[in-house]
């Protein structure tokens, strides 16, 4: 039997903002107040990186997070408690920003009580293939003034 998923709790950018604020306040900034909705026109990501996690079931939902490499490195340093000038390896980068996607996706899954399974995070230079997918919500957030996009896609 196909499970009916109520998407209403995530069909707005505010829940994605709330999840991101909780994540950054508790595990990255150690204080609230650094994540907001982006004000103004959506900026181009500089040297972009994308990370995504799927919730797989009869319906596949993909949570895609985009940010610039520099911002991703700052997130990585914060999560690994590295000095501000520490070099960030690709391995650490993928681990850290992938975990951000994992936490956001897990919390989205909880909001819609999706019965599916989370995939392992993927990190890449390009946005993932979304085919004939439908965007459910696409938020542009600001973390310490840097853009961070969080989008939910329903894949065919």
């Amino acid at each position: 039997m196909t499970a009916t998923i109520d998407w209403a709790p995530v069909l707005d950018t505010d829940p994605l903002l709330q999840i991101s604020q909780d994540l950054f306040a508790t595990m990255i900034d150690a204080e609230p107040g650094h994540v907001h909705h982006w004000v103004g026109s959506r900026p181009e990501l500089v040297d972009p990186r994308y990370t995504w996690v799927d919730v797989t079931d009869e319906q596949i939902v993909r949570v895609v997070i985009g940010t610039g490499r520099e911002t991703g490195e700052a997130i990585t340093r914060a999560l690994l408690a590295l000095p501000d000038d520490a070099e960030v390896t690709d391995e650490d980068f993928m681990d850290a920003v992938g975990e951000v996607a994992n936490v956001v996706c897990g919390n989205v899954k909880s909001l819609v009580t999706h019965p599916g399974t989370l995939t392992i995070p993927v990190v890449a230079h390009a946005a993932p293939p979304l085919g004939d997918g439908t965007v459910l919500v696409d938020a542009c957030l600001s973390w310490r003034g840097a853009p961070l996009t969080v989008a939910l896609w329903l894949l065919p």
Partner: protein, 127 residues
């Protein structure tokens, strides 16, 4: 006291491991459930496992089921630390033998409160 942190993310192992070290645990790490079972063979004095759910090779739920089949591990406290926050998943993990459940993201205080409730904070350790 020894704790085993089981998570495929090195970032999460560091975060959870630091919290545990700060309250007096000696921390061992594993990147998936299968590696965790090997670590338990090497360290039979582990008292606490902090377990992610979503991992390659053997996930956290499968690890709990496997560990609970082993009588020699019956005294180990199993605490899920995961993004899987749905009620059904929590019930499933607890039914399989987990003692506690922490949902990411979390603060250090959340973990410490759970450890205190479980009686795993040694007397005299400042939290």
């Amino acid at each position: 006291m020894k704790a085993l942190v089981i998570d495929d993310s090195r970032v999460m192992r560091r975060i959870v491991g630091t919290i545990l070290t700060d309250v007096g645990f000696e921390v061992i790490e594993a990147g998936d459930g299968q590696e965790a079972l090997m670590r338990l063979e090497q360290h039979p004095d582990v008292r606490l496992c902090c377990i992610d759910w979503n991992m390659p090779v053997m996930n956290g739920y499968e690890f709990i089921v496997a560990a609970r089949k082993r009588p020699e591990y019956r005294d180990i406290t199993l605490m899920m630390v995961t993004t899987e926050g749905e009620q059904d998943q929590i019930v499933r993990a607890l039914a399989a033998g987990a003692h506690e459940y922490v949902i990411k993201p979390f603060t250090a205080d959340v973990i410490i409160d759970k450890l205190d409730y479980l009686g795993l904070i040694e007397t005299g350790v400042s939290v």
